[in-house]
Symmetry: C2
Subunit: 251 residues, 2 copies
DNA sequence: AATCGACAAATTGCATACATATGGCGGCTT
DNA sequence: AAGCCGCCATATGTATGCAATTTGTCGATT
């Protein structure tokens, strides 16, 4: 009711508003959210606020406090890196299982088409990149990869593990404001997209897994670059708004 | 409030009763659960029933239906195998990261102690095994393994992925009613416990990962054994009560 | 037989009031 | 100064009634 039908319920409103606030970093990690205050603020009764907070717990943005109530989860730099590592492991598993078990014609056709369209995001010049198109198709690529082996269990787990902003495959893609060396990584990433496809087609499970893992490591490099260059994190990378400011790496 | 303090709330009661029913296979997969009927049945109001169902969704036993309400999730044989595969991958990752990153003294001491105590479950004769002790310590071993790298993200994800009964490391351990060939696998498993420890100590990440994955595959062998021998599943393996009866493998 | 519309029943969404539990603060004692 | 206790304010747990939505049934029409 809240989402599937698009019905405009109070719970849905509260859920979307709270999610947006959390994702924008409006609540420091560890903040306790109080039903009554939020109900007033959002102008609904406690019931939809509770429901919304319960759902945000499912989404991984809140956790339940020990004597009832909800806390905003806190994340640090290590969580970001581990989330990226985990995504690599899970997507690597999807690639391996796809290679080992085979892929249906329909899914392979879809996957190939996405890779082909990703190619069209690159023009003649090294700076000639359709960033928006790439970001959209990159998201599609990763969803399709997760679905390739036809395992609902794995697909579900990948969806869960990549739900938080900084865990998403699209979290650290460069855009037009960023340095060109940073942007050139897109071309390398697209090459990896191709290689993963090839490894799967050739039934090379270990290779597919290794490639997909390395592919996810690009996100780690991008994160490290951002922190190493003291870039204003919240400004440059919305995905990191959730991450505590005191948790930057020291090197 | 529901769990941390042990307070005896209606929500807690409803949660435990519904969980137990679901885990015992009382509701076929896909069954819709109705608030009003359950509230009457459990003799509480709708509010704690809703809360309990929301939590069971977090636990992975229910899913939200499209226009509100909740459905009991259904699982088939492939889900069992994929859950085992996923556990192997995640525990393998824990082993690898432990080897790569190192382990604190406290955690390593704890881990060694568990392995040592697992050894004491085996007596002089091949049939002389303390099954209950083994099962208890096996669970501890796997929890400790998940915690070794000191990554809250990974530990949390492993906990989630192993939450369902058939995904648990202890799901398919043999007990005293089962065949001796089946039981002998415990000795092999314990050898693997040792080898994983050794690989971590030696900083052999790839080896640790491969061993932990293979270790998880024992569960797959056990499942396949159960099905291949037409054993009454619900009777022999409570962990499989959740799995649909029409989804047995055909080979 | 299939489809559509109307209506009733059932279910979920929600608000509100009351009950219960928790946490913080102040005062007192050691 | 530290610890303990009591009190009160606040937050959560819960029940219940009403509103809104969804589902199912039945009859009419093609």
């Amino acid at each position: 009711m809240v989402e599937a039908t698009g019905a405009n319920t109070h719970t849905k409103r509260a859920l979307e508003e709270l999610r947006q606030r959390i994702l924008s970093g409006a609540f420091p990690g560890g903040t306790r959210l109080f039903e009554v205050a939020l109900a007033e603020d959002l102008q609904v009764s406690r019931t939809p606020v509770r429901e919304a907070m319960s759902r945000l717990t499912e989404e991984g943005l809140l956790e339940r406090a020990r004597n009832g109530g909800f806390l905003v989860r806190s994340f640090d730099f290590a969580d970001v890196l581990d989330a990226i590592e985990l995504r690599g492991v899970l997507e690597g598993t999807a690639a391996r299982l796809a290679a080992e078990r085979g892929v249906t014609e329909a899914r392979m056709k879809d996957f190939r088409e996405i890779v082909r369209r990703l190619d069209t995001c690159f023009g003649a010049g090294p700076e000639d990149v359709d960033f928006d198109g790439y970001a959209e198709l990159n998201g599609q690529y990763h969803l399709a990869l997760a679905a390739l082996p036809g395992s609902a269990t794995l697909e579900r787990e990948i969806a869960r593990a990549t739900r938080l902003p900084f865990a998403s495959p699209s979290a650290f893609l460069p855009d037009r404001r960023q340095l060109s060396a940073f942007r050139r990584s897109l071309g390398l990433a697209q090459d990896q997209h191709h290689q993963i496809l090839q490894a799967i087609v050739r039934r090379e499970g270990a290779r597919a897994e290794a490639l997909a893992r390395e592919h996810a490591c690009a996100a780690r490099r991008n994160v490290e670059y951002i922190f190493a260059n003291d870039i204003d994190v919240a400004q440059a990378v919305p995905a990191l708004a959730l991450v505590g400011q005191g948790s930057r790496p020291e090197d």
